[in-house]
């Protein structure tokens, strides 16, 4: 008998009266993994999490966690904790009350409760706030309380439902790193839901890309970004220009006539995903493209370039002054372009 | 008072009327219609308040149509709650304003109750209304032991008694007097319904009748005939004289055995539901219930020996009435033969007219629901005075109710 994954999901599905929120889905997660579910709003991410948590009933399928089948258990029997998008801190309880809530419910002995809370307070830096009420905390602090409340449960599985999406840009970035550090320190298994690609890429061991109730693709951030199989993944994860090209012998002819190396031996019509950093725009009066505009992002400049009738984006480091709009540029290939799995077709 | 004597204000030197559009001082029974009819027609309308639950039908069927036809004066009829109306009129007069009502059919104790805050016009109606000459002279001047000087006309005579369901009680079981009632209650716990003396007239009167039968000698004389009381003195006497000891002793024994109800209707409903076999009632009110099929045909009424109280309610012109002439005409009309006969026939409302006997108006079948004439003549009695009655109710609370 082969050993089973820490979390195994088989054929999990959820239909509502009027729609299918999640088509049958399989997923294995190993102990200690940090998995992200990434997809646009309404694609079924929360539904997925809620079924894991037990606060929504699956329409079909099975879930095993740490060797036991859990899909028919009520939430309070599962050893899973969750950090909610709105934090869902109990407003009538102090930070300490919030942290102790779950332990009391599970009748953890007093001494053990204290030990675990002290531990969580320490790693989440909540020392000064334990006596405060949630409304007396900033968003970031609330977020840490929500996390600590989950950690004290020492759950087999930790779920996050867009825990950062209510925060502002600068804070979001800071907490992202903090969260990851905590995950490493605690060493648990986590499933994290987001629709923010940066968040997904910078945090996850693996990303599960979802769309319209289906898993589109699963892989490490690097693989999904550099070598997505589907158009959807290519487009949802970072910027890309999708073009049709004619391939052969490791090269492809692009619509504006240039030949460039590709990462596949395919021949015939193919769909390419061109990342901005794949092409280097260089001032050249005979170049194939014209700069129509640019977007300065500090570390890099994104140029909108019209090549033939294709509008594409190419980036350059922003160490010197940007190339002005209207300039003609040559597009120099920096790396082999990626060929998508989907058979070619209008890459709209 | 002679029929031709000039009219004088009752109690004071002047009439307490702002709108006397005729010379009241020269009014007599003889010139009554000649003087008042034109003035009343000028006034054009009259506002009538009426307090009694069973009376709208009387006004609407027996008085207003005939009156309006006869004089062409419109009657605006208003049912009122007695306590709210009384307070309204007191307020109006304290503010020295015109009265919203011209004539008010009010509870019998009203003249006594409002003697310090008069709302009754001091017109000696007894002396000038032509119809008054057919009425019992005492009842024209005294209501509930209070001599109001003929300002409050006895429109309706009533009588309390013990109503019972003859289907549930053999004739010999029907208690004949207070001791028998107590014995019956002992034998049939909670089958006797006594209206709370605090909630309705039939219960109040049960209390007074009990006192009138139990008090003897000097005590009884003071209860029945000494009309010089003020409130405080009456209270003091009831509380401390010791005269009432047997009354309280009786009630202390009786009360736990009976159902004390929240009103006359409440008592009657218990009888109708077979939840009580006998209870305190108003003769006329129960009669109305029988007609309305809210009491069974087997319902009967009797009086306890040694007397049960009866009295009446009256009508008066309201002080500062705006249509005094029309009001006087209306009162006169309501006291006339036809309406008084109709009232007796349809409502078992007795009359103070000397020319109508109960047997004239009511047939044998309906007479079953009235106090048999022989018993009435023997046991119907009048009230103690208003201050003593008030004091007895308070004492009842102190002696009985709060000790239960």
């Amino acid at each position: 008998m082969t050993s089973m994954a820490h979390l195994r999901i088989a054929g999990l599905t959820k239909s509502f009266a009027d729609a299918v929120a999640l088509h049958p889905t399989d997923l294995d997660v190993e102990q200690g993994e940090f998995i992200t579910l990434l997809g646009p709003s309404g694609c079924g991410k929360s539904t997925f999490l809620r079924m894991l948590m037990g606060i929504a009933a699956p329409s079909g399928g099975a879930i095993w966690l740490a060797g036991a089948r859990i899909d028919a258990m009520p939430p309070e029997k599962r050893n899973i904790a969750m950090v909610f998008q709105s934090y869902a801190l109990f407003p009538h309880l102090s930070v300490l009350g919030n942290l102790a809530f779950g332990l009391k419910m599970k009748k953890v002995p007093k001494a053990e409760q204290e030990r675990r809370i002290a531990h969580a307070v320490r790693i989440c830096n909540l020392g000064p706030y334990v006596a405060r009420m949630p409304r007396q905390l900033s968003g970031g602090q609330q977020q840490r309380v929500a996390l600590a409340r989950a950690i004290v449960m020492e759950p087999d599985l930790l779920l996050f439902d867009e825990p950062l999406s209510n925060l502002d840009a600068k804070l979001r970035e800071t907490l992202r790193e903090e969260l990851l550090t905590l995950h490493r320190r605690v060493g648990g298994t986590s499933i994290y839901v987001t629709h923010d690609q940066d968040e997904a890429m910078s945090m996850s061991d693996r990303i599960v890309v979802m769309n319209e109730g289906r898993v589109v693709e699963t892989g490490t951030p690097f693989d999904l970004y550099r070598a997505p199989r589907s158009r959807f993944t290519a487009r949802f994860l970072g910027r890309t220009t999708l073009v049709d090209a004619l391939a052969g012998k490791g090269m492809a002819r692009l619509p504006w006539g240039q030949m460039m190396p590709i990462d596949s031996a395919a021949s015939g019509p193919v769909a390419l995903s061109i990342r901005p950093e794949d092409l280097d725009p260089a001032l050249d009066p005979d170049g194939a493209g014209v700069v129509t505009g640019f977007q300065f992002l500090g570390s890099a400049v994104f140029y909108h370039v019209l090549a033939g009738d294709i509008r594409l984006t190419a980036s350059a480091p922003a160490r010197e002054a940007p190339i002005p709009a209207g300039s003609r540029v040559a597009l120099i290939s920096r790396a082999p372009l990626h060929v998508l799995d989907d058979s070619a077709g209008a890459a709209s | 008072a002679s029929a031709s004597a000039d009219m004088k204000p009752v109690g004071t030197d002047s009439f307490n009327m702002k709108h006397l559009d005729f010379d009241a001082a020269t009014l007599t029974r003889e010139n009554f219609y000649d003087v008042l009819v034109p003035v009343a027609k000028q006034e054009g309308e009259v506002n009538l308040y009426s307090f009694a639950a069973s009376f709208p039908v009387f006004w609407k069927e027996a008085v207003i149509p005939g009156f309006e036809k006869k004089y062409g004066i419109r009657v605006n009829f208003y049912d009122v709650k007695e306590d709210v109306a009384k307070q309204q009129l007191i307020a109006v007069h304290q503010a020295d304003q015109d009265s919203p009502a011209d004539a008010y059919f009010a509870p019998g104790p009203t003249p006594a109750e409002t003697r310090n805050t008069p709302i009754i016009a001091n017109l000696p109606l007894a002396d000038v209304l032509p119809e008054a000459k057919n009425f019992d002279e005492t009842l024209l001047h005294v209501s509930f032991g209070f001599d109001h000087g003929g300002t409050f006309m006895p429109l309706h005579r009533d009588q309390t008694g013990m109503g019972y369901n003859s289907a549930l009680m053999k004739p010999e079981e029907v208690p004949a007097d207070f001791p028998a009632l107590l014995a019956y209650a002992k034998a049939h716990p909670k089958q006797v319904a006594i209206t709370s003396p605090l909630k309705g007239g039939s219960g109040e009167n049960f209390l007074y009748a009990l006192a009138q039968s139990m008090l003897t000698g000097e005590c009884h004389d003071k209860l029945a005939s000494d009309f010089g009381w003020d409130d405080a003195a009456a209270a003091e006497w009831v509380k401390t004289s010791g005269c009432f000891t047997p009354v309280w002793a009786y009630l202390r024994e009786l009360t736990p055995l009976v159902e004390v109800t929240n009103g006359n209707a409440d008592t009657q409903n218990l009888i109708a539901n077979n939840a009580a076999t006998i209870g305190t009632v108003w003769e006329d009110y129960a009669y109305t219930f029988v007609q309305d099929k809210q009491l069974p045909e087997t319902y009967r009424i009797t009086l306890l020996a040694n007397g049960q109280d009866g009295g009446g309610d009256g009508i008066f012109v309201v002080r500062n009435a705006v249509h005094p002439a029309a009001a006087m005409l209306l009162i006169d009309y309501a006291m006339s033969y036809e309406p008084q006969f109709w009232k007796m026939k349809n409502m078992a409302s007795r009359t103070a007219r000397k020319d109508i006997a109960i047997t004239d108006a009511i047939d044998a079948k309906n007479a079953q629901f009235l106090v048999p004439e022989a018993i009435y003549r023997k046991y119907a009695i009048g009230y103690p005075t208003v201050p003593v009655m008030t004091a007895m109710r308070d004492a009842y609370v102190a002696e009985i109710v709060s000790k239960m």
Partner: protein, 304 residues
């Protein structure tokens, strides 16, 4: 809450160009129609009533005061003391029954069931039924020999006394009948204001449905529920006609005693009883403020 640190406090109301807060006169002018009218129509009579309870200003010839006689009566006469007790008893019991029915009903209304919309309208009917009509309906229903006892009689049962009974069952039932929709309405709203996510969180952290209700939903809905309790209590203590028709003839609640004093034109006593009733309500109101100051409003933090 949408952002991290506390956001700038907003201006309130109109941003006037002459400084950001509207000045006192503008506020006074806005308050005037409502508060002014109440001050005139309600304040003046109220003050004269309170004076009246000391026998002051009762009109020519009736100015008996200043005297504490009426208060002495209310607090000295066993009838009135018992009245005060009865008032509090009826109020408390009615509220208790209200709660026992309204809370489960509010929970049921939060779920989906066939015909929910219609039910939502129908259960509120008693809100529109005058007290006297309620009393009348209950009397015909609960009275000995009334409808209910006739029905029970068919199956050989007999009804205990529900009207004019020493425990005031009929009175309490009628008061509750009239107030339950009111209570339910407020509690439904208070429950709905508790974010569902918090209940999910409670479940996620190991609470059974019952415990999630007791530990999270109930405490968070408490400010609304206590307000409903308070208002129902005040409505019950003020109710006159229901105890008058359905209650035992002794002891009578203060509301009925006040009406009797009114009947006897004993104005100082009417006003004294009124003042005592008012004070009782006011004390309860104050203790409400005191208690709820400690309970967090659900809208505070944690929500979205």
């Amino acid at each position: 809450m949408s952002s991290t640190t506390a956001r700038a406090p907003r201006h309130d109301g109109w941003p006037a160009m002459k400084g950001d807060q509207p000045n006192g006169r503008t506020i006074a002018l806005l308050l005037l129609p409502g508060v002014g009218l109440l001050a005139l129509l309600f304040g003046i009579p109220l003050v004269s009533g309170i004076f009246g309870s000391f026998g002051l200003g009762m009109g020519a010839g009736r100015n008996a005061g200043p005297t504490l006689a009426s208060y002495a009566k209310v607090f000295g006469d066993p009838r009135y003391l018992a009245g005060l007790r009865t008032t509090l008893y009826y109020g408390a019991m009615a509220v208790l029954v209200d709660l026992v029915v309204a809370i489960p009903l509010a929970l049921a209304l939060g779920r989906s069931f066939v015909g929910r919309k219609l039910f939502n309208g129908l259960y509120k009917i008693p809100l529109a039924v005058p007290g006297i009509v309620v009393a009348f309906a209950m009397l015909t229903l609960l009275e000995q020999g009334g409808f209910l006892s006739r029905v029970l009689h068919l199956v050989g049962l007999s009804l205990p006394r529900l009207v004019r009974d020493p425990w005031g069952i009929g009175v309490i039932a009628a008061m509750a009948w009239k107030d339950i929709p009111f209570m339910t309405l407020i509690i439904v709203g208070s429950f709905a204001a508790v974010p569902e996510e918090l209940l999910h969180a409670a479940r996620a952290f190991g609470a059974s449905p019952l415990r999630a209700f007791l530990k999270v939903r109930l405490p968070l809905a408490m400010p609304g529920i206590t307000a409903a309790i308070l208002l129902s209590f005040i409505r019950s203590t003020g109710s006159f006609v229901i105890p008058d028709v359905l209650g035992a003839s002794y002891p009578l609640p203060l509301s009925v005693l006040m009406y009797q004093a009114f009947r006897d034109s004993n104005w100082p006593l009417v006003y004294a009883i009124g003042t005592v009733l008012m004070l009782a309500s006011f004390l309860i109101l104050l203790s409400y403020y005191f208690l709820t100051a400690r309970i967090v409003a659900p809208a505070g933090g944690g929500g979205r």
